[in-house]
Symmetry: C2
Subunit: 196 residues, 2 copies
DNA sequence: TAGAAAAACTAATATCCGTTAGTTTTGTAA
DNA sequence: TTACAAAACTAACGGATATTAGTTTTTCTA
């Protein structure tokens, strides 16, 4: 029987990908070896290849899974009939939650995508670009509806997406503040600013 | 005579560090080889060792140079007698400027520090922590002086520092917007928010 | 319980890496 | 021009890497 334990739901391949995400997050993709990954799972390195195709494939699995999650959520936000500010709030909250929930995967997608090989690299970057573009359009709509101040839309998107990525740092202080408090404060800051 | 050209001001070692920063930024530290670095400079790999001690030393040079720049600037801001909001503005503007000015070095310090070896890794992380802590204290002061809204100070610092790091992405669109416009918009967004 | 399929193992390979040793070339100063 | 020092070169080493081939063990199914 396989020594590689599948999580209660999911294949062994999924279990490997999950371990890989943790390892890649901790050491970086290039600095992570298949031998290390195998050891963490309790198996010899070549045994991994009964379940996966290659090391690169692991990175691809992680990056495209996360990209799909974000794209799908954006789609549903766009389709909701809410105000622009409310849509932005939904997006910010989703980013924060998925960052806390699937920390390793999101971190890897954010930091290690450059080690994707073509044509996956180009595909990934296109998806990112399209995601940014759609949020930029959202802000433009907000400006023309006078819901949002007349700010440079692309700069605003950049500011929001980057700020939200910073939740990565929060993993260290997880106990010091609740998810809810973190969410409320960051949403308030990004939408309403710091001044009284 | 040396084929390695020193920049008009600076030693050959400095020229190597500068090339290393560009290479590490583009491919990541672990994925960058000394042979690649040498080729970019127009020399064989072993020749580099007439000027530098090791690959690790290059990363150290980059990371600690940037850390020192930020710490020094924070010191001067703390010593200025300005209001808290103005101090925050100064910090944000400095981050944006140095990010645009020393892009490669800042990027590497932000993304590749985890490949520092001990005791340098611990030293670097301590400096980061201290930097964050001092800005957190700044915001606390602002709150008690009623200059800043009653927000969670650590979350605010996180939001600002992360947002500002996102200028990295801006290198791609450099022509589309001026530094000044970028600065004004981001400062306005982070201090005053998005709503009208 | 027998046979098939899945998944583990060992051994090995070719490649790449940072770095050292030893030598030769180049530039500088007398 | 000669001697010294700086910095280039070639060759090579020891170690790590992802992956393959071939074999044995384990597990599932009938």
């Amino acid at each position: 029987m396989a020594k590689i334990k599948a999580r209660l739901n999911g294949t062994k391949k999924d279990a490997i990908i999950q371990s890989a995400a943790a390892l890649f997050r901790h050491k970086g993709f290039k600095a992570s070896s298949m031998r290390e990954l195998a050891e963490e799972i309790g198996v010899e390195a070549p045994s991994l290849y009964n379940h996966i195709g290659s090391k690169s494939e692991l990175l691809q699995g992680i990056c495209f899974k996360i990209a799909a999650d974000f794209t799908q959520h954006l789609q549903s936000v766009e389709n909701s009939g809410n105000s622009v500010i409310h849509k932005l709030e939904q997006l910010i909250r989703f980013h924060i939650r998925i960052m806390l929930q699937e920390y390793n995967e999101v971190y890897v997608a954010n930091h290690e995508w450059k080690h994707l090989e073509e044509p996956f690299l180009a595909d990934f970057l296109n998806q990112r670009k399209s995601y940014e573009k759609r949020i930029t359009q959202l802000i433009k709509d907000g400006i023309s509806k006078k819901e949002v101040k007349n700010i440079h839309p692309h700069v605003a998107v950049l500011t929001i997406l980057s700020a939200v990525r910073g939740i990565e740092f929060w993993q260290r202080h997880k106990t010091a503040i609740s998810t809810k408090e973190l969410e409320e404060n960051m949403v308030d800051h990004l939408l309403n600013g710091l001044t009284i």
